[in-house]
Symmetry: C2
Subunit: 286 residues, 2 copies
């Protein structure tokens, strides 16, 4: 990837990590930051995630070969409107956890031929802010790219090369399928983890072991960010909830009818399926 | 605690870790093991978790100051019948994840005056077998002890001292409350984690990140062990499921009605509540 300058809109954990990763991989590339809070921008500059910042989004993207939207998904439409006039020849991508809405917004605002390639790097943590940014955050993780039929192939290749530069493995999906699978794999688990925390009596929390802490780690994520994601993918989430309830109801039924063998099989199948996931993960990280 | 000899019934992860912990704290104490599989017993001997083993449970407990039931909760009633005649003056405890049934079984089989003190050390992992046993497994963790009005106070003190010897912090609860709180804090999260794995399409598993792996780690536990726990606590589990559904339904309603502020508040409250748990955990481990 030839990159003279990139712009990162939103320099939190993800935006900051992109900056640090680009700095490590392409030391000569200029990195421009934009954000709402001047303090975060200064911190990002201090840790070396950006070279300079601009508090005007349109000005920040000017002259950049690549602009990356790293703000909460609920802000995308407004930001696209702001930066549209200055995008010029630069390519645009994002790191949003939902993809249908940003693909639609880009089509509405930038038009069919815009060099926008929607991305979702599956990396991060429940932590928030540039102080937790790491150059290797994306290393070995998957980045889903969801081009449409109208997306210029050269732009897709460009964006994919960019994520590979940060160590990511690319997977292409259409935006519909992305949002459906992520509802199951990420958005539902988040809601469930938060609900597991919310439903506990205080007395139960006294007994909390590492199992519960691990199971609910994702619930530590920022409420504002997740509100946007859940609202944006509410329809799929509703289906995911229904399918989870169905599984849990099966278990209750097995318990009711004391179908012990079936219950062991169901529990063991889940354990084995997860063990395979862990194995594959370890293989991929080698 | 003065202990010349203890007997561990079931030398898996927990039983083996008790053996290693006792060995470290009281090098002179003899440790007798019992189990169904001769291979596991030999392994336990090899790693130093037990000094010798007996394949006859009644013989294994003879002459021990303390006997600890470390087999799946579904086996407790049968084992109690086997060992009752040989318990003599020794004190009996267990490590089961449910407490009402073992308390009732001990009353039925051993009688009111038996020196049985029900325990639940909240430690372990999704791993299984003596090969994962660690002398420090219990260090800093909580052990719930659920004596009844009939339990001899000296026996309660004795068993509590034993767990403290392994580094545990003691909490007393009645068995009813234990089972209710643990349904919320442990048994429900297990079912939910397994259900989250079970409901995924294969395509979704391709996108699995560390968040999902952490959230479902507990689902890696042994199906047979967990079948016993869930069956034994099915009534409480049903209530826990209902309360989880209630929380999730609230979220879906907020999404439906686009009550954004309320949704952020709910998500943030869960994140903060969990952050406090983590803080307390870190303080306790210091």
């Amino acid at each position: 990837v030839r990159l003279k300058q990139i712009t990162i809109l939103g320099v939190g954990l993800l935006g900051g990590s992109i900056g640090l990763g680009v700095r490590a991989a392409l030391p000569k590339c200029k990195i421009v930051g934009w954000g709402h809070r001047i303090e975060s921008l200064k911190k990002a500059e201090l840790v070396g995630a950006i070279d300079r910042f601009d508090t005007d989004a349109a000005a920040a993207v000017e002259g950049s070969d690549l602009t990356i939207l790293c703000t909460p998904v609920g802000t995308f439409r407004g930001l696209l409107r702001e930066i549209a006039p200055s995008l010029d020849k630069g390519i645009l991508t994002d790191v949003g956890s939902t993809k249908r809405s940003i693909v639609a917004a880009a089509k509405d605002i930038l038009g069919d031929k815009a060099k926008f390639v929607a991305s979702h790097p599956i990396a991060g943590s429940e932590k928030r802010g540039v102080e937790f940014a790491r150059a290797d955050l994306f290393q070995g993780a998957i980045c889903i790219v969801t081009p449409t039929r109208q997306t210029p192939p050269a732009a897709v290749k460009f964006v994919e090369s960019f994520w590979k530069l940060l160590g990511m493995r690319i997977m292409r999906l259409d935006a519909e399928k992305h949002d459906r699978l992520l509802a199951d794999m990420s958005h539902l688990p988040h809601v469930v983890a938060a609900a597991l925390v919310a439903m506990q009596e205080d007395a139960a929390l006294e007994l909390c072991g590492t199992g519960f802490l691990d199971a609910t780690r994702i619930a530590g994520g920022d409420g504002g960010l997740w509100k946007d994601i859940l609202l944006d993918n509410a329809g799929n989430l509703r289906d995911s909830v229904a399918r989870l309830h169905e599984q849990i109801s099966r278990v209750l039924k097995m318990l009711n009818e004391k179908r012990e063998g079936e219950l062991v099989d169901w529990l063991s199948a889940a354990a084995q399926r997860r063990a395979k996931l862990v194995e594959r993960k370890l293989r991929q990280e080698k």
